[in-house]
Symmetry: C2
Subunit: 279 residues, 2 copies
């Protein structure tokens, strides 16, 4: 993974670089970079052209986790089996490390050196990513999630939250790959629909794992969502109902995927992985 490389080049206070790299290196599934690079590969283009943007999106995902874990937000001490950022570096530095990762991600996309990516494409990438991460996307979803805490949500409200809180950045990863690969507008539109389904699958599966997963494998206490009185798919639909919904969205996702003029194998494998993963 190229993530730390970018940061070590920066001339910034050492503590800040440490706080930024700590969470970037803390592991995680790297599902967003994987989706972006897989999309490029599926159009039979070289994945090197997407590495900077993949890093940028992972930085945005990481910043969102750092801020979500803060005492004022979810107040989590453990993330991916390790102490959360503010437990190591303190709240102030955790807030700033998140701010720095978010800001730097846009610098990274704006300065891609790749000659195959035109200036217009870079601007499209920035728009796509900023919209997915900002008030209409991930941040908006997080606010809706907070507002829904400790009250029971309808299935529709839950889906709305997840589309924005986690779905939009997953979608942006796939759409960004398609933009970099120079995909046609129709293909981008179908991939966007595919990605929305995949994002929902991802969240339903997360909720299912929280009920029946192995705490050592998933890296957080089982039932921690339940303890917060959160609305989850298993809570709303029962465990079997949630699994059925997961399968329905997997079928739908694959239908959109097959409409895209690309080699489908990689994204099919990733789709199956999202449904079948054990952490």
């Amino acid at each position: 993974m190229r993530l730390p490389h970018h940061l070590e080049r920066l001339s910034v206070p050492e503590k800040l670089v440490q706080a930024m790299t700590y969470s970037l290196k803390a592991g995680g599934k790297r599902i967003r970079p994987a989706l972006l690079l897989a999309t490029i590969r599926s159009f039979e283009k070289p994945i090197e052209s997407g590495l900077d943007v993949a890093c940028a999106i992972e930085m945005i995902h990481t910043y969102s986790l750092i801020h979500d874990d803060l005492p004022a937000m979810d107040d989590d001490d453990i993330r991916r089996g390790k102490p959360t950022n503010h437990k190591i570096f303190g709240e102030a530095l955790a807030i700033l490390a998140g701010d720095a990762l978010l800001t730097y991600s846009f610098e990274l996309v704006a300065q891609i050196k790749n000659q195959d990516v035109t200036a217009e494409q870079k601007l499209l990438l920035i728009q796509e990513i900023a919209k997915a991460a900002g008030p209409e996307g991930m941040v908006g979803g997080q606010v809706a999630d907070m507002e829904g805490e400790n009250k029971s949500l309808t299935l529709e409200e839950l889906i709305y939250i997840h589309h924005h809180k986690t779905g939009d950045l997953l979608t942006a990863s796939i759409v960004a790959g398609a933009i970099i690969a120079g995909a046609a507008e129709d293909d981008i539109a179908n991939l966007r629909m595919f990605a929305k389904e995949l994002g929902l699958m991802f969240q339903i599966k997360d909720d299912i794992l929280d009920v029946e997963g192995d705490p050592e494998t998933i890296g957080k206490p089982i039932g921690s969502d339940d303890g917060n009185n959160k609305s989850t798919y298993p809570n709303l639909l029962g465990l079997e109902g949630a699994k059925k919904m997961l399968n329905e969205h997997m079928t739908q996702a694959k239908e959109y995927l097959y409409r895209v003029n690309m080699n489908h194998q990689l994204l099919l494998t990733l789709t199956n992985y999202v449904a079948e993963r054990d952490h």
Copy 2:
């Protein structure tokens, strides 16, 4: 000011828009937008071409104030004579409103509709602004500032902090105006030096006002920096020494400015305003 207009168009949770607009509307000197638009005007280009970027930079400035005021950071209850964002909306929403303003600012710059601004220029603007706001710029300066709290700094360390914490975004405002106006590279380089001097003047003047200003006019308690045991220019140089330093940097600023091939009047007026303002 066009700020709220942009936000009201967004489809986002109402509370989030309220928290974002509260701080944007809370007043402030709008010095960054003023510098950007004044720079465009000084090249005799229409200022309309810079309005979106001016808004974006003011959003970034506002996000930085919201996060700086948080209990984990400076823990300020009052800003510009009004309760700070987290006092009204709570910490979680204040963090997210800051995140949203920062993210949306890049979307705004990437999607400028103005045909006079090329895609390459938009990318330059995003790079300039992201670098100024990110780990090598404003956020890095804030971390250095935190690390310097409660210990005495040398004048050099204090200048380093201010160059990044406040100077870089002021510089980006002026450089952004020059980029939008299509200025020559030499002119941009001299304006960058001018802006660095101006940014320093701005901070020295802030410190002076904190010692001798009228609390009702400046909107925060007099001596609040002093109470935090912060290193300031008056603390290091005495009040008269700080005033002398302010004048020296004003002279230097004007020297750089006169080298730029533009109408100097507006930026001269703004330079004098920074030195002479009473809040």
